[in-house]
């Protein structure tokens, strides 16, 4: 069983604060983490390896500091990691990201399942997984909450997907790309042994020269979309009418009356 897991390093957004005067994000001292959804992807790959043997390779495209996310994945138990890092990859939107990751996966070559998170918490798009699958012309199974069965001989997989109406049971063929939701498992913590291994391991860095990519299709150059403006969300129009009164009872009466008089409650 050969699994490839795509992980992204993201800022831990809980701690992103807006500078009230400048209206910009304060990111100093914000820790970087593995995109939380991707930890479920790593865990699921590790579970398959424990059951069937084989290898789990983790890849990430990002700046040199994304190395620490890959080391964390090794500490969790991944066998190998590769960092895709090159100034030429900078500014990639989801199209160019998927194109580059797909090129790296082609170079790795042998795989049965590719795992992604359902979405990255910084971009929140969930487009990269389907993008990679389409680039590689393999089946995609998104929002997977359970791998019911997998048969590497017959090259068949059966999963449950979380859709609006409930759970959809789907059978497909291998190789395929799976994006996982939280319900699929409970990710493990890194082990002491894993952490030691992660400290020692040499993680190769691939640049655009190492990949069979068209320079016009990577990074900002290859991205069909452009961010043209960034601003803080506009405030909601109007001001809050703070209800005052002698007692809570009276305040509640006033509010109830207003809501009914203005036909907000009918």
């Amino acid at each position: 069983m050969q699994a490839i897991v795509c992980i992204k390093q993201v800022p831990e957004t809980t701690e992103v604060k807006i500078d009230p005067e400048r209206g910009t994000l304060i990111r100093e001292g914000v820790p970087s983490i593995i995109n939380p959804f991707d930890t479920y992807a790593i865990e699921e790959a590790l579970r398959l390896r424990e059951k069937f043997g084989g290898k789990v390779t983790v890849i990430s495209m990002g700046p040199p500091q994304a190395m620490s996310a890959l080391k964390e994945a090794i500490a969790m138990g991944a066998d190998e990691a590769i960092l895709l890092s090159d100034p030429a990859f900078a500014g990639a939107d989801t199209w160019a990201t998927a194109y580059t990751l797909a090129a790296a996966i082609r170079k790795i070559g042998n795989f049965d399942v590719i795992f992604c998170g359902r979405q990255a918490i910084d971009g929140d798009t969930g487009q990269t997984g389907p993008g990679i699958a389409t680039q590689l012309r393999i089946n995609q199974l998104t929002y997977v909450c359970k791998i019911a069965s997998i048969d590497f001989e017959k090259k068949l997989i059966e999963v449950e997907r979380l859709v609006e109406e409930g759970r959809e049971v789907v059978r497909s063929t291998l190789p395929c790309l799976i994006t996982v939701v939280k319900d699929i498992n409970q990710p493990r913590y890194p082990t002491i042994l894993g952490i030691r291994r992660a400290q020692k391991v040499q993680i190769p860095v691939w640049t655009s020269k190492d990949l069979d990519v068209d320079p016009n299709l990577i990074g900002l150059n290859g991205s069909p979309t452009r961010v043209v403006k960034i601003e803080t969300p506009p405030p909601r129009p109007g001001k809050c009418d703070i209800i005052h009164g002698e007692s809570v009872e009276q305040m509640a009466e006033i509010l109830a009356e207003k809501l009914i008089a203005e036909k907000i409650i009918v």
């Binding site: 389409t134 998104t142 016009n216 979309t225 452009r226 960034i230 809050c240 809501l259």
Partner: protein
């Protein structure tokens, strides 16, 4: 992977750019010249701010869709499950109608399904000028491959300028594949769409970094310009059954034997929590202090015939199930009335409820951010205020 280029000769270290960088990527270096860090993602917000023109982004070589002018009209994908259209699709048709009118062009709905002609007629009633209907047993249930390949062929044949899809699980699954095949831009989860004056390009506005910032995104050189939008971001249009429109029938592109994926079953889980359709929502946060605290919330919701919502803090604490969570990682809701009790109003919570028509906040901290977006507020202990409000409403509504 900083993209920004700084011309050291021109930089006067005035600091104008520091103010506008949304990512905090710029700083004044030791030699009083602006420095750029890895946090730069090339958004370009700083470039026009520099009075001396010292900042620039690398010139972009254009990989273009040939013949941009040939792409005309607005398209919406109509999602269906079990012969019923998803309401999110009608919201998209409503917004697509508005954009098509602004652009002075037509609105086309794409209906893929089996025995789906009634959905095609519904699409016209909701505002489509014409419907492309692909009716075939292979399309009865959504599957990525037959749907994506069919839409790709339709786009190649008819060349729409703008293509909108609902950001449901199926919509996201499909849009990601279609945009990749077509090599065009796709913007996820837009909260606003506009046509830019002059260029007539689609401006796609979406939250980023957990709603901390709003980004406007354009797709200049590729067609169609694709975007997904979440449920309840746009209003549901009113259907007019007397509207007339054209239905064009097209053929699927895959045979059943060529499709690797089979849907074996759909296990429907009826959730009793119907946040999405509730007209009134009463939500509780960390301030309710425990599972029992939700009793006062539930009583108020019952009097109003509303649903119970929650902040992530309350859900993570295990006081109430995830199905109730409102916000960036929960549901987006757009009720007529949203009553937030013991919720501070973090930006991620706001991301799921700020488009509610009327917001009422009950919180003991007068400085809580929720009051900044609320229409009415009571500063006080929710365990006293909420029951009092329940009593007052009960009396007035005779319930």
């Amino acid at each position: 992977m900083a993209l920004l280029q700084i011309n050291r000769e021109l930089c006067t270290s005035c600091g104008a750019c520091l103010q506008v960088c949304p990512f905090g990527a710029l700083s004044l270096g030791s030699d009083a010249i602006i420095e750029v860090s890895e946090l730069c993602n090339g958004c370009g917000a700083c470039v026009p701010e520099c009075p001396t023109g010292a900042l620039s982004l690398p010139q972009v070589e254009k990989a273009e869709t040939p013949d941009l002018e040939a792409y005309q009209g607005v398209w919406v994908w109509v999602e269906q499950c079990d012969g019923h259209a998803a309401s999110i699709s009608w919201e998209m048709v409503g917004e697509g109608r508005r954009l098509a009118d602004r652009r002075g062009t037509t609105l086309t709905a794409c209906v893929l399904g089996h025995q789906a002609e009634s959905i095609a007629r519904e699409a016209i009633a909701y505002g489509a000028d014409r419907v492309i209907l692909v009716d075939d047993p292979t399309l009865q249930i959504y599957r990525t491959d037959p749907y994506a390949r069919c839409l790709v062929e339709l786009v190649k044949k008819y060349r729409p300028e703008i293509f909108l899809l609902g950001a449901s699980t199926r919509g996201r699954d499909l849009a990601g594949a279609v945009a990749t095949y077509l090599y065009t831009g796709l913007t996820a989860d837009c909260t606003g769409l506009e046509i830019e004056e002059g260029s007539n390009l689609l401006l796609q506005i979406r939250p980023a970094f957990g709603g901390n910032i709003m980004a406007t995104i354009k797709c200049q050189n590729h067609r169609p310009q694709m975007a997904t939008v979440r449920h309840h971001v746009f209003e549901m249009p009113v259907a007019d059954p007397s509207r007339q429109g054209e239905i064009i029938r097209e053929k699927p592109v895959m045979l059943e034997e060529e499709i690797a994926t089979k849907v074996l079953d759909l296990i429907v889980e009826k959730s009793e929590v119907n946040l999405a359709d509730a007209r009134i929502i009463v939500s509780g946060g960390r301030g309710v202090k425990g599972p029992e605290g939700f009793n006062v919330i539930r009583e108020l919701a019952d009097v109003l015939g509303g649903a119970v919502g929650a902040s992530r803090a309350a859900v993570d604490a295990g006081w109430i199930s995830y199905a109730h969570q409102v916000g960036q990682t929960g549901r987006t809701v757009r009720p007529d009335l949203y009553i937030a009790c013991g919720i501070s109003g973090a930006i991620q919570h706001q991301a799921g409820m700020r488009t509610s028509k009327v917001i009422v906040a009950i919180n003991k901290d007068p400085e809580a951010p929720i009051f900044k977006i609320a229409d009415y507020g009571i500063v006080g202990d929710l365990f006293v205020v909420v029951p009092a409000l329940t009593r007052a409403l009960k009396k007035r509504l005779n319930r």
